[in-house]
Amino acid sequence: MTNSFPDKEPLLRVDGLSVDYGLKGDPLRAIDGVSFELRTGEAVALVGESGSGKTTTAMAIAGLLSPNARVSGGQVHYRGQRLPIDDDAAMRPHRWSETSVVFQGAMNALNPVHRITKQIAEPCILKLGMTRGEATARAIELLELVGIPADRGVAYPHELSGGMRQRVMIAMALACRPSIIVGDEPTTALDVITQAQILKLLRDLRSQLNLALILITHDLSVVAESCDRVMIMYSGRVVEDGTVAEIFAEPKHPYTKLLIASIPNPANGKKMIRPIPGDPPNLVNRPSGCAFHPRCPSTMSVCTTEVPRLGRFGHGRVACHLHPPLQENMVTVHA
């Protein structure tokens, strides 16, 4: 499934992206120098504990940063073109046409007073210039694509189950034929069976429509079957990035190791997620050096002073002083 040949410009390239929230004098750096690439049709999971900057990263790419956010560094290129991610109005053409978002199911992401067909048809009318009739026909087509019978199109959101609402959200996300779909914990609020169905739907649609997917999740177990690559975030930085197989078989970063060890495994009676010891980092006063050093079981003295560089390692990347990057001239495979 992985399409990792460095043959052409990636669909999306993020370089050293930093985003601050709040006042200029005392900003909170939510993400700090995030870099990665996304290829057409590729599925990347964004994993990390609460507050690690997953949503901020994804919203920056989708041009949906909140008004109190400020891009303090870096840039994003889409199909080789620089995206004006800090310009709300300039990002409008990009939204939904190129990148759309499936929000968390628990979020009341659908407007309660409009019928679902109308909500799916809306971007077709406003962005693609379709007539109301054409847009409605497209909406019904999309509903059927996500497994909702056409006659449910007249329903209002409150008349649907959580799983159905999330299907509507997905149908809506496909309306303008985007190349990238961001799923921000799209299955968090759903029961296990519905969760599996929604993830399968996303997988099927992705291969059918050759969509790139950025899937945000706390849940590493979701990642294995739905994604090609995993990117682990800690304290607003990418700490490890690799193929699903690599990360699960041979995690490099101590934080990734702890994350994988904390996956509940019913087979050996481990049902609860075992939390990683220590407190999540304070973003206003990020720990010096490697932000993970106060909690890391392998801290060295260099860890407290120097921020480890996210260097290439095998087929992926890792930011840890235990794994110093290979010499640049030895690198033959792209990140």
């Binding site: 939204r95 992401a109 659908l110 407007n111 809306e122 406003l126």
Partner: protein, 332 residues
């Protein structure tokens, strides 16, 4: 089909709301009846109070029989009262001897509806739009001005506003009349008379409208500030909608839900009038009539006005129920 089911549900809701309205009205009418029986004093005495000469016991007894006051309160008198009220027979006024209460009320009703109705229209158009805009652009200059002034207006008693308006625009500047509905010298010519009426209407309408605007701005702003934080607004933005499209297609409809309820409930007070404002301006409406009736202890008139007030509030509640059902699919 979903549509059919929701239509059935809608008509059931409507039926329930109607039954509720009728029961409420019966209770209001009965309470109204009881209220004026427990007030100290024999109604028969009061009926004869206008007669200056001494009253004999026979006369009182005759009155009691005449008015049915000798019969048991329940069920005879209550049923009589409800039956008569249903036919628009609200009895006779003490003060305006021999005049039907219903006639008195209907005579005064147009002036009140003109006053409060016009004030409502102005307040709805101005206050709601201003409030929605302020909530949309929270923290902006217009929001700050609108919030401070609407809170001030909302918390100022109407009679005080009325007096300020009179002093400013009538007493000091002499721009507008501040008393009554017509000038004593007004000609009979219809256009002049209408203009004269509108001039007299201006300040009372302003007094009522300003208070309402304050109320609508506060409520519409609060509703809109809540809506802009809703997740579906994030979705609307993600879909690439412009601010205007987000406002018109997604925010307004949702923010209007609580506002429409408030407006519809307020419509119930259109007939009751603005008692204090009418009193200050000597406006010849229901509010003025209430004050006159209170001063004269004219219980039948008060009873009639209370019944009308109760009925219109019940009707407004029914309307609010229906309007909400139309606007919000979740309660259909």
């Amino acid at each position: 089909m979903a549509g059919q089911a929701s239509r059935n549900f809608m008509s059931r809701r409507l039926g329930l709301a109607l039954i509720r309205a009728i029961v409420t009205l019966l209770i209001v009418a009965t309470l109204n009846f009881i209220l004026f029986r427990v007030i100290p004093g024999d109604p028969a005495n009061m009926l004869l109070a206008g007669a200056r000469s001494s009253v004999t016991a026979e006369q009182i007894e005759a009155q009691r029989q005449n008015w049915g006051l000798d019969r048991p309160l329940f069920p005879d008198q209550v049923v009589d009262y409800l039956w008569a009220s249903l036919h628009g027979d609200l009895g006779y006024s003490f003060k305006f001897r021999g005049r039907q209460v219903a006639d008195l009320i209907f005579e005064r009703l147009p002036a009140t509806i003109a006053l409060v109705g016009l004030a409502q229209i102005i307040a709805i158009l101005g206050g709601v739009m201003l409030g929605l805009y302020a909530g949309w652009r929270r923290g902006g200059a217009i929001d700050n001005i609108a919030t401070v002034s609407s809170l001030a207006l909302y918390s100022t008693p109407a009679f005080w506003l009325a007096m300020l308006l009179i002093v400013t625009f009538s007493t000091v500047s002499g721009w507008l009349p501040g008393y009554g509905a017509y000038s004593p010298s007004a000609s009979i010519a219809s256009v002049d008379r209408l203009l004269d009426y509108l001039k007299h209407l201006a300040l009372p309408v302003a007094a009522v409208a300003l208070g309402l605007i304050g109320q609508y701005v506060v409520v519409a702003r609060a509703a809109m500030s809540e809506v802009v934080t809703e997740d579906y607004m994030v979705t609307a933005r993600a879909k690439g909608l412009t601010h205007r499209q987000m406002l018109m297609h997604h925010a307004c409809r949702n923010a209007m839900l609580p506002v429409v309820t408030l407006i519809t409930l307020n419509l119930g007070y259109v007939v009751a009038g603005a008692i204090t404002v009418e009193a200050v301006f000597a406006w010849p409406g229901i509010g003025g009539l209430t004050v006159e009736a209170l001063n004269a202890r004219d219980y039948p008139v008060l009873q009639g006005i209370f019944l009308l007030l109760g009925a219109s509030i019940v009707a407004a509640n029914l309307l609010a129920d229906l309007a909400y059902g139309i606007l919000d699919p979740r309660v259909r």
